[in-house]
């Protein structure tokens, strides 16, 4: 109100030209000043402690509020990352550098820097490994075929082989081999997830590039049914043998289907050795090396023995340790943890 009084005075005493400029300046400036003071005051009075990480992430995000992440603006996304454990790779405008920044704030470095590639979780869908329910002669598209009696593949979880994923791939990383099966070129795949979205069955899952053991089945049918319906014979029957064998508790079975938690998996391939239907594929099978301690460098710190999932390493403290080659599964955990780098995989 003081402002108005002053501007009135000016209007009364000053010349006409003066007041036509002063009054508006006074009023708008006064409004701005009042609002500014109120806001400054309010920010103190109504101050709320927020997780500092949210603020940090907001300052890193591009601030375009484009909504590409599926959240309502950058603030919403930052909040979702911190509180709802949202994926940190959703910001398209920010790209890889933004993701790396967020990763460092959230301490998710290891996961973020790891490239993922698409992996088919089905071993059916080719020319000679599929039980066809009927002969589909419609539009050459999985999305179309899936609408007719749950698709032509007898297994209602399995691949139908109409290559929607191949057409969706922007990098030509998916090809069809001589058996009619789709293969992912690990070098070309960028893990963009276009094929994952295109597949109406959801059998494609993005898996960290350095994981070599996966369940090649998505059937949630009961074991006996899955065995009959699958044309490849490599269906998961949910027996749970792999769960018992896994040294890191990375496998869970639900709805008659085993799933590997790729963050926990150590690539040891033990699950593949016990799988009765060979539904678990071990790409390193036969190529796996065994760990060997070079006696000269060993200081007997026992770290390797503590980390061995199968208790293949024995030895007293401050004595040279020995690895039992019969028991060793070649997971490489000991070599990774050895402070003297004296364990070799041979």
């Amino acid at each position: 109100m003081n402002m108005i009084m002053i501007s009135l005075l000016v209007a009364g005493n000053g010349s006409f030209q003066m007041s036509t400029i002063t009054i508006p300046v006074m009023i708008v400036g006064g409004l701005g000043l009042i609002f500014g003071l109120v806001l400054a005051f309010a920010s103190k009075v109504f101050h709320v402690e927020v997780d500092p990480r949210v603020e940090q992430i907001i300052s890193i995000l591009p601030g375009a509020n484009c909504g590409a992440c599926g959240m309502p603006g950058c603030g919403g996304y930052a909040d979702a990352i911190v509180h709802n454990n949202a994926d940190i790779d959703k910001c398209a405008p920010g790209g890889a550098s933004t993701m790396a920044h967020i990763a460092s704030i959230m301490g998710k470095e290891a996961i973020a820097s790891q490239k993922k590639i698409a992996v088919y979780h089905c071993s059916s869908g080719g020319y000679n490994n599929t039980n066809w329910k009927y002969n589909y002669e419609g539009i050459e598209s999985c999305k179309s075929a899936v609408n007719i009696a749950d698709g032509p593949n007898s297994c209602r979880w399995g691949c139908m082989g109409f290559n929607d994923c191949l057409r969706a791939c922007p990098f030509d990383a998916i090809t069809v081999d001589e058996f009619g099966m789709r293969c992912v070129d690990k070098a070309l795949c960028t893990g963009c997830g276009a094929c994952v979205k295109a597949c109406p069955r959801g059998i494609i899952i993005l898996v960290p590039e350095n994981r070599n053991v996966m369940v090649r089945c998505s059937s949630k049918d009961k074991g006996a049914d899955a065995r009959v319906l699958c044309g490849s014979g490599h269906s998961c029957i949910g027996c749970g043998l792999c769960v018992k064998k896994c040294p890191t508790q990375a496998i869970t079975v639900s709805s008659s289907l085993a799933r590997i938690d790729y963050l926990r998996c150590i690539n040891c391939g033990q699950c593949a050795t016990v799988c009765p239907t060979k539904a678990i594929e071990d790409q390193l099978s036969g190529k796996r090396k065994k760990a060997l301690i070079i006696p000269d460098g060993c200081i007997g710190c026992t770290i390797c023995a503590k980390n061995c999932p199968v208790k293949a390493i024995t030895g007293e403290v401050k004595q040279v340790h020995v690895i039992n080659q019969e028991i060793c599964i070649g997971c490489g955990l000991c070599a990774e943890k050895c402070p003297k780098k004296t364990i070799k995989m041979v």
């Binding site: 708008v28 309010a42 509020n65 959240m71 309502p72 603030g75």
Partner: protein
Amino acid sequence: MGYLGKLFFMAMTAVFINNYVLSRFLGLCPYLGVSKKLDSAFGMGMAVIFVMTMASAFTYLIQTLFLIPYGLQYLQTIAFILTIAALVQFVEMVIQKNAPALYKSLGVYLPLITTNCAVLGVAILNTKATWADGAHYNFLDAVLNGFLSGIGFTLVLLLMAGIRERLEYADLPKSMKGMPIGLILAGCMALAFYGFMGFKI
């Protein structure tokens, strides 16, 4: 026409006939940007209703207390933007402190509409709008008009989000996916709303 009749007239006008998005083409940014998912569209709609109502009230006061007495109507735009921006910031702070649950559902949308043209549009059109007998809106009329305009905006936003959620599964040519089909859709909806223009109340 009694007051209820006038109210009905105002509601029909604000929600259907002069819908802010589809007839006045204001607020197209949130209309296309936040209409991908139904629940975020709903949150946005609620935030718009809230801000439009508040903004109508405050800008009406600014207009009658400051601008008109000093003949400063030409400063309307800048004064209103100032008022709305400050108001939304203030309200955001208050609900963040006192109503965390409300802030969770509304808060993230509030900064997005601080300087939205639909909100400013309501404020400015409130000062220009007249009843059939030539009388200007009074304070209550302005607030009600802001509220109803917000309802109209929310209605259209929800319709759009509902259609776009289904459109995700449509087999569209690659070049039409996303924004292009969204704009065509907006055009079709505007045509449909154009039908309300002929209403005589």
